[in-house]
Amino acid sequence: MTATANVASPAAPPDDTDDAIPKSRFDWLPVAFVPLLALVAWPLMGSTSTWLTLTGAGLAMGMIIFVIASGLTLVFGLMDVLNFGHGVFIAFGAYVAVSVFAGMSDWASAADAWKNLAVIGAAMLGGGAVAAAIGVVFERVLIRPVYGQHLKQILITMGGMIIGEELIKVFWGSTPIVLDLPQAFRGVFTAGDAAVEKFRLFAAAFGLLAFAVIALVLERTKLGLLIRAGVQDREMVESLGYPITRLFVAVFVAGSALAGIGGALWGLNQHGVNPQIGASVNVLIFIVIIIGGLGSTTGCFVGALLVGLMANYIGFVAPKVAMFSNIGLMVAVLLWRPQGLYPVTSR
């Protein structure tokens, strides 16, 4: 749509969606950055155990960010809708988790690991369900009337964010709430001198699972094929008779649910929630999807891992500039590839 999009042409062949019939080669270079960053950081961290701990924390953080950001980037890719109110879903997910933990406090404090897992599962499920429900309303009331108008989209989703944050204060109060991990997920696994928090391991595993499921759905199902086709060329899919709007609503709601689940994980990872949680995570996920290339799931995954690792390494070495390290990362990536790591063709 915008003229400027044509001026800056992607520096690399667009092979994010790699399952096309003349099979394009997968671009491994950006993926290689993740281990590269970890290796560069190794000598800088002082000791191997510190490095291992930080790497574990960084990967876990990256996975959670990916769960949150994946929906946003897909929605943007599919419908050219940039949802500045994505943080609302994160915040509601986290707050619902708080309520679930309060309601199931017996199980959360039980010594039985399975009961603990059930509480976390219920929290994630509840957070996801509530976020999905809000997503339906959000899409219907706020986003549908302003398709194709970027300026209004930004404004109106920002307005949705303000309202959502205030509603959270109505239901849960405006003071921060502590969210303690269940018994079995506290503490750390130790391997030698290195320590990785148990919950982070769980979060990383879940993030990887989420990525696998999303990738499988996108690559191996008809639904995924339609979504990928829609990202590439929306009008073409529409003219072939597929209801792209319904597809979009489905992706939007799924993305909201993922953000809610991610929000629950994020709240647990931070050991607490506050009404501004959505706005603060929003900044991170914007950086992630810009780095990854707007609309690209793989790019989002790689970007999330890079940001997570970077935040932890720099946060350890020079905490004062931790926030700027992510922006530096973004600037560096954009100088190299102005459209992000995995540019999506039609944008």
Partner: protein
């Protein structure tokens, strides 16, 4: 006509709006006399500062059609410039001027870099990148406690002429003591007036017309031969400089600056609310919206307090009308404005022919 030239021939074009603007002008000009009391004067000063800040944002959002979330960053740079210079070099005029100069320089450089970097790719990038940079800047300001005083901020002295203890007349004049505070208020008022008129001049110049052309259709503007990137960048730099000056005014009035006063995201949202509710693409919208929001912030809570007894005991409803939830109501008003009257209060008053501000 003199007045028409002062307003750059961009007259209110609506009798109600004209009356409203004159009322606001007189109210602010005579505030120390008409609304006695420290609180009222503080509110009036806040209105003045926010009008300038919102007008500077309107330059970008309303006239150029790009969304920035870094307006408070430049606001903060201005306020910190004065605060740091006054703390380091003493409360003198030269140090304030030096602080303003440095702040303007920093804002210029920063906005230029952000603009050239992100406006080149896509306009929508600008919104996201400014959001990220502004939040990083706020974190940085609260971390560098040696320079900025960290979370506590900086309390500093202003030059003697503006200090509250300085009395110019032994007797109160018309019931108002003519002291440094009084002088400060009028310094604020006059500077703000000049700034707003200057912005009105800019948006009604040929340059401003090009900005509006870019807002309506950037592709066409480029085809006619205007370098869209250059114009957008200049607009964002100008907007940043005006925001910096608004920050300077706030710091001089409060004699304090901290992260929550100028850099917080809440203030960014306030500015967004002001411009959208007041009316995008009309500098007057910033004036009307600024008055509306600051009054709501300070007095809507009192109003809501009266509603509380009516719904006392009903669980959720009593929370919704609680005085602390004033922002909820403004948020809803904001969303409704974007839908139903995108040109805001001012556009509404001017009638249906108001220009629609969208890309």
């Amino acid at each position: 006509m003199m007045l028409s030239r002062l307003l750059s021939h961009d007259l209110p074009r609506s009798r109600v709006l004209a009356v409203l603007l004159i009322a606001i002008f007189l109210g602010l000009a005579l505030a120390p006399f008409v609304f006695p009391g420290t609180r009222a004067l503080n509110v009036a000063a806040k209105v003045i500062v926010f009008v300038v800040l919102a007008a500077s944002f309107d330059l970008l959002l309303g006239y150029t059609g790009i969304v920035s979330f870094a307006q408070t960053m430049f606001f903060g740079i201005g306020a910190y410039g004065v605060a740091i210079a006054s703390t380091r070099w003493g409360p003198t005029w030269p140090s304030i001027l030096a602080g303003i100069g440095i702040a303007l320089g920093v804002s210029l450089l920063l906005s230029l870099v952000i603009g050239l970097f992100s406006l080149r790719v896509r306009a929508i990038f600008f919104a996201m990148i400014t959001l990220a940079v502004a939040s990083a800047f706020a974190t940085l300001a609260s971390q560098l406690s040696d320079l900025t005083g960290g979370e506590d901020g900086l309390t500093f002295k202003v030059p003697v002429a503006l200090q509250p203890g300085t009395d110019y007349l032994a007797e109160p004049f018309l019931g108002v003591s003519i002291d440094g505070r009084f002088v400060s208020y009028y310094v604020l008022f006059v500077v703000a007036l000049v700034l707003v008129l200057a912005m009105l001049r800019i948006v009604n110049s040929p340059f401003g017309r090009v900005l509006q052309a870019i807002r309506e259709n950037d592709f066409r503007a480029e085809s006619i031969g205007y370098r869209v990137v250059v114009y957008r960048t200049i607009a964002s730099v100008a907007s940043a400089l005006f925001a910096t000056l608004a920050g300077v005014l706030l710091a001089i009035w409060l004699r304090y600056n901290g992260p929550d006063t100028t850099l917080s995201f809440e203030i960014m949202l306030d500015v967004l609310l002001i411009v959208v509710i007041g009316g995008m693409g009309t500098i007057y919208g910033a004036v009307v919206g600024g008055v509306l929001l600051v009054l709501a912030q300070n007095y809507l809570q009192d109003l809501l307090k009266r509603a509380v007894p009516l719904v006392d005991g009903i669980p959720v409803l009593s929370q919704i009308v609680s005085p602390d939830r004033w922002l909820l109501w403004l948020g809803i008003l904001f969303v409704l404005s974007v839908y139903h009257f995108p040109s805001g209060v001012v556009g509404r008053l001017r009638g249906g022919r108001a220009r629609q501000a969208e890309s």
